[in-house]
């Protein structure tokens, strides 16, 4: 299994990373090498073995349904790159065409 430069460019788009051409060249080779190495997991006979998602099996950990403290709007907005009228200001989300 090997990975092409085009596939890496696709992964970068999915990952929301505007990579430069030089980075694509560089990462394509490295990712190919890493994927080749991690593919070793496929050697293991794991038929019927359940997947493990977590070290401690825990299900539906919920707190009591009572009002508790939370961040104020000012605290929640305090690290935002841009705010407007007590809200997060974001670039346009929909395309114009």
């Amino acid at each position: 299994m090997s990975i092409t430069r085009d596939e890496v460019a696709h992964l970068a788009r999915l990952s929301r990373l505007a990579l430069t051409d030089a980075e694509l060249d560089h990462f394509a080779g490295q990712l190919d090498q890493i994927i080749g190495a991690v593919a070793r997991v496929q050697e293991v006979a794991a038929e019927g073995i359940p997947p493990m998602t977590h070290a401690v099996p825990v299900v539906n950990v919920l707190r009591d349904d009572v009002v508790a403290g939370c961040l104020t709007p000012e605290q929640a907005l305090s690290g935002a790159p841009a705010t407007e009228q007590g809200r997060f200001r974001v670039p346009r989300i929909l395309a114009e065409d």
Binding site: L17, V41, G79, P91, R92
Partner: protein
């Protein structure tokens, strides 16, 4: 300050945490004097060591004053009250920036404290500042920090390990007696080993992840670094315990780690050496010191047997699928909207474009590699062959541990295959870097407890070697018990701590007053 004062300040930075706490409680020294001595030491040596990303002098002195005031008022003090600590910059702090070693969070001031931060403050621990780390805890050398690498106090041209390398360097350089690290694939134990100090990865869920900026949520575990096993245990106890704010926090008592560190007896204990970790790939001096440590355990009355864990050789590939997969999901939150950097927002670009430009500008190479690797492993068409298979391997590794712990009480291995490598040697060779975690990863995947304790210097380079002691989940005390026995026996042989064999760091002019 008079010459005697400088001498006393130096002495204060050489004390253990237990000694400092006792001296503060007895009124032999004030917490403010202790904090000032460590702040002076940071001024003197950190320009070379570069362990800290942020030093909170005013906050530290205020916290120390508070301890002194409580003592004067006769209020009860915790077991670590007045002891300085270096906090890994992945834990949120309201009064200090939290950058995770990344440009994308440059200068970010979180609106809340991590549970670990809160517990330290409540215990009267004096937080000196935030330590350097590989970006978002991805790395084994601190070279992936956007703010430059930290340096190993044993040899400033070498790496201090990672990702908690600022924390290990700070403790080894006597800038702090204690530090907090986080372990996802070895990020506490490996830096502790290469800096000649003690580092413990608690059982997963034993210490809270609330306010720990997530890398791989099913693996991330905060834990202590210290110069002695007892100090690590004291910090372990203060920082741990159930946290309702972390859904994976274990609702069980903290294992009796302090008592175990004081017990330090291995007679009759069954110790397993992992067959699969006895193969090649070690540095010769690491092998020599490890073999001696096993012989030492036998001489102390432990019964040593070889135990096979056949799937451990697949731990590294499984980890480098699981951790990047979780990272690709967790780091999606860095979207340039709610916190952190925003790049390219010129009024014409879409949110999607701004997001991609921001992440391109804000993340370093290793983070980008892992996000893409995780995105690949989770893609439809590849999921079963990569992520799914890695999760099955995780089950098999856990079963190997279960079978091993039916035969033995603890498993031992070297902590790392090599001693500290030179800065730059593996910086752009990810696969070589990943090998640093070869022996530490199985315990992360299984979520059990593991400690690294110094076991000597490799003869070929004079650099520290760590012994790893792995114990079943929630049996963290066993790791401490064995580590304390090894520490006591070796210090008797060496005539003092291993760290005393490190050369003195040059103090900068004007510092160390």
């Amino acid at each position: 300050m008079a010459a005697g004062g400088a001498g006393m300040a130096r002495e204060l930075t050489r004390l253990t945490a237990a000694e400092i706490a006792a001296a503060v409680a007895a009124g032999d020294v004030s917490a403010v004097e202790v904090a000032q001595a460590h702040l002076d030491r940071i001024v003197a040596v950190d320009p070379d060591v570069r362990a800290f990303l942020h030093v909170a002098g005013i906050g530290a002195l205020a916290a120390a004053e508070d301890v002194d005031r409580k003592r004067a008022a006769g209020e009860p003090l915790g077991p670590l009250a007045g002891v300085p600590l270096a906090l890994k910059d992945v834990m949120t702090t309201t009064d200090m920036p939290t950058t995770c070693g990344s440009k994308i969070l440059d200068g970010w001031r979180p609106p809340y404290d991590a549970t670990v931060t809160r517990r330290l403050r409540d215990a009267g621990v004096v937080i000196l500042g935030k330590t350097n780390m590989d970006e978002f805890a991805m790395g084994s050398s601190t070279e992936n920090s956007a703010y430059g690498p930290s340096h190993n106090p044993w040899d400033l041209t070498r790496i201090p390990g990672g990702s908690s390398g600022g924390s290990s360097a700070a403790v080894a350089a006597y800038e702090a007696p204690l530090a907090i690290g986080t372990d996802t694939g070895g990020s506490i134990r490996q830096p502790a080993a290469v800096c000649g100090i003690v580092g413990m990865k608690p059982t997963y869920g034993g210490s809270s992840r609330y306010g720990l900026v997530a890398f791989a949520s099913s693996l991330d575990t905060p834990g202590p670094l210290a110069r002695t096993v007892l100090d690590a245990a004291l910090l372990h106890e203060v920082m741990s315990g159930h946290d309702p704010r972390d859904s994976t926090s274990v609702d069980a008592p903290v294992p009796p780690v302090v008592a175990a560190a004081r017990h330090a007896d291995v007679s009759g204990l069954r110790v397993g050496v992992v067959t699969e970790f006895s193969g090649g790939g070690y540095q010769s001096g690491v092998r020599a010191r490890f073999t001696e440590a096993v012989e030492l355990l036998e001489s102390l009355g432990a019964k040593v047997v070889e135990v096979s864990c056949p799937h451990f050789s697949y731990a590294l590939p499984a980890y480098y699928l699981i951790a990047p997969s979780e990272c690709s999901s967790n780091l999606a939150r860095f979207d340039a909207m709610r916190f952190g950097l925003r790049a390219g927002d010129d009024g014409t670009r879409s949110a999607d474009e701004v997001m991609s430009l921001t992440r391109e500008a804000g993340f370093g190479a290793e983070v980008k590699r892992r996000i893409m690797l995780g995105t690949y492993a989770l893609s439809s068409g590849y999921y079963d062959a990569y992520y799914g298979k890695a999760q099955q391997v995780r089950t098999l590794i856990t079963r190997d541990f279960d079978a091993a712990f039916e035969q033995v009480d603890v498993l031992v291995s070297p902590t790392t295959p090599t001693t500290a490598f030179p800065i730059g040697e593996r910086a752009d060779d990810p696969m070589a870097m990943y090998l640093a975690d070869l022996f530490t990863i199985p315990s992360d995947l299984a979520g059990n407890a593991a400690i690294s304790v110094p076991c000597g210097l490799a003869p070929e380079d004079g650099l520290p070697v760590g012994l790893q002691i792995m114990a079943p989940a929630l049996a963290d005390d066993r790791s401490y018990r064995v580590a304390a026995a090894v520490e006591a026996a070796l210090q008797e042989r060496w005539g003092g701590p291993l760290l005393a064999q490190a050369g003195e760091l040059g103090e900068q002019a004007g510092g160390g007053r």
